[in-house]
Symmetry: C2
Subunit: 451 residues, 2 copies
């Protein structure tokens, strides 16, 4: 040992008063809402009920009643505006990091030279990388309460399947997941994560179910879609009476479970002294849209054109912008009941895209009511526009967002550019429904196109 | 419109007092430490200085002085225990989400049936998915202050390159990144993200530099490693006088920049009334280890065997467990100065692994002093052990962690199992240095092996 005296190993600190807020997930549910907001009794017209067809087939409604969880059927039938969130669910929602941050996208605003203020609701920071966990936790809880051991479901981009595998693990359940084949084959990393979580995954259409076999035999919808996966999940549940079938979008209870998003946004904006002028969500089955906008339905009724609600969809599945508002099955084979929604028709073969979460031929009846009543506007973007927006977000905000979420942010960017023209200091809130780290194949393909 | 009276669109809330904490990244730096902790003056013996060889080659130390940022050279020479963090850097560290959470891994503890309490410091939640951002932001800031426009660096797994590309974007700089070829070819998704961020990437060894050409010509180190990438980055900086070369590990200033980790852990544990018995970090260039353990050096001096410090390394690059404590070059071609560290020798050809962040033949002099003085223990794990641990973390804590971080958690798991035998309610803290979402190729390969 050489040299002069060494300072004692340092216990000094330059500021003895530096005492940062400990950031320890507490599991304390106080910051999570006490109830879900139920959109259905708050719609301006009654929700068109699901119904059976006149084709002499066995009742699809009866099948749904048998294979679905009791609790969510009660929620869908409820006329209450608020559905209590079980304490255990509140605890788990706190544990995954709710409330999620509301980010002011200042760098994006500066780049756009807009007077608008853009707020991004960051559902992408949740453990599975998307908002889907909010409902997956609730439904896995209800399943465990009911004594169910195996859940069957479908997934499009894989966000819902990933969330169900995660939530199933949390409650000691097994998850069987039918995954739109085109997305399952793109997303090898997400496939690995779902399998590591213990999920049993089948790219759809598959040989695993009667519905899948029929599609393969007839050479229909071979790329797969959310619709083919819905059909197969129901078919599987039909053949496995011990299982229960759950959904991650479209239905009232799923939209209600997602209302934690909008309730948090309301509280967060109030704390900032802000009132939103525009709320934006991407729209596939409508659950992040319903979750963000449901708690604002009263404001919309009061403010009319003073509050703009926008659903951003994929131009490859343009239901709200080009579909018809009519009864249709949610799956190509017609194993689902007839539901009224904006639809492209169940024979519509969806093209291959990297936007699996928005890739279905029909959608949510609740969203359909909002659209048909003129409460929400709709815009459609193609894949190149979406990934351009994702690149913009990454470069300016440093955040890598899911391809689906790119549609919502694109709509926010368009509004912000319009605000530059009009000079209006508009307050825009867009929901970032998911993270893009497990969807990089789409970005890579986009980059290959010279982006 | 049919039916009876509809409830008015609901402005009701079940609990008018529900008033959640708004979670809005504030940019306010009050929760970020005011100073970095400098390990060097707090080592029990002086740090062995870097030196030139006796081979008649031009001075490598002179080259380092020319190509490195002035501020970090001042930091490396400082005898102060605390180096002030510039206010702008504190603001950016707050904006990326510091302090990061400290997670009690209760599910993992239950699975292990251990009396130990396992705390995980969650650096994986930062925007680029790893702790590397802490130093990248600091160095990009110093570069911008110095008027530098282009930064050149190396990266192993890609975490540092990703962080530098992100931080460079933040300060309007250009980043040139030499990336250990074996990792660059594995990680297509991370490659895409770095390119979208504007980073200029070269898998190493490359034809882009004199050092890379020499390796390719001689057929040495063709897989690439952190060492080949270091050599090429320095070679590039030598040939481009307008650029500056930065490092993401090994050197005292990098370890200091990472000391926000340990300072936060101290405050977070104090708030919980906890005193750590064991601190664990994975160790490649030693910066997450130094960052976690530096602020605990005084405690270690005081408590001796009462506080255990463990470095977890890769069995494919077993420097601390099987290397020699001697002077060596950090790159195979010898363009770096001679530094004293635990080394396998610069001719050691590292095998192909999915643990790129721990894959170098030598390491940090500071870590070497800690090891040679008996202050840190070392353990080595092979790739299968690491990915097994990653799968365990995902199944029990729902968190997908980087392959490097798996080594630290594995050591924590081993301690917790030992605690089960002894019955000791040990308090263990392990640093989760990174997220695994951009490293799924390794998990996929592991899954293919029947995991």
């Amino acid at each position: 040992m050489s040299g002069g005296p060494r300072p004692a190993p340092g216990a000094r600190t330059p500021d003895p008063d530096w005492n940062p807020t400990p950031v320890v997930p507490s599991g304390a549910p106080d910051d999570v809402p006490e109830a879900w907001f139920n959109l259905v009794p708050n719609l301006p017209v009654p929700l068109p009920p699901a119904r059976d067809g006149d084709d002499g087939q066995p009742s699809r409604l009866a099948l749904q009643r048998r294979i679905r969880l009791a609790a969510v059927q009660e929620q869908d039938a409820s006329t209450e505006s608020f559905l209590p969130i079980p304490q255990r669910v509140r605890e788990e929602l706190a544990a995954i990091g709710r409330p999620t941050p509301l980010l002011r996208a200042r760098a994006l605003e500066a780049h756009l030279r807009t007077p608008a203020r853009i707020y991004l609701k960051r559902e992408d920071v949740l453990p599975t990388g998307s908002f889907k966990l909010n409902s997956a936790i609730a439904q896995a809880y209800f399943a465990a309460q009911q004594g169910v051991r195996t859940l069957v479901t479908e997934t499009g981009a894989g966000q819902w399947g990933h969330a169900v595998a995660w939530a199933a693990r949390l409650f000691g359940l097994h998850a069987v997941i039918f995954w739109a084949g085109v997305s399952a084959r793109q997303k090898l990393g997400r496939h690995t994560v779902i399998k590591l979580l213990g999920g049993e995954v089948y790219p759809s259409p598959s040989e695993r179910t009667q519905v899948g076999k029929a599609l393969l035999r007839d050479g229909r919808h071979l790329l797969g879609s959310l619709g083919t996966a819905i059909g197969e999940a129901i078919s599987y549940a039909q053949d496995h009476p011990e299982t229960r079938y759950i959904s991650g979008s479209n239905l009232p209870h799923v939209l209600a479970h997602q209302s934690v998003i909008g309730q948090e946004v309301k509280a967060q904006l109030a704390a900032l002294g802000e009132t939103p002028d525009t709320l934006i969500a991407c729209v596939g089955g409508g659950s992040n849209l319903g979750g963000l906008m449901g708690p604002y339905l009263a404001d919309k009724a009061e403010r009319g054109d003073g509050l703009t609600l926008i659903g951003a969809e994929s131009a490859s599945a343009p239901r709200l912008t080009r579909g018809e508002w009519r009864y249709d099955h949610a799956d190509p084979e017609g194993i689902t009941p007839l539901t009224k929604s904006y639809t492209l028709g169940r024979d519509y073969e969806l093209p291959e895209t990297h936007v699996g979460g928005l890739r279905q031929h029909s959608g949510s009846a609740v969203v359909g009511v909002l659209r048909s009543q003129g409460l929400i506007d709709a815009v459609a973007y193609d894949e190149a526009e979406a990934f351009e927006t994702g690149s913009l977000m990454l470069r300016h905000e440093g955040v890598l967002i899911a391809p689906e979420s790119c549609h919502a942010v694109r709509a926010a960017v368009d509004r912000a550019i319009e605000a530059r023209r009009t000079g209006r200091a508009e307050t825009i809130v867009a929901c970032v429904s998911g993270n893009g780290a497990l969807d990089l194949e789409g970005y890579t393909a986009h980059l290959g196109d010279g982006a």
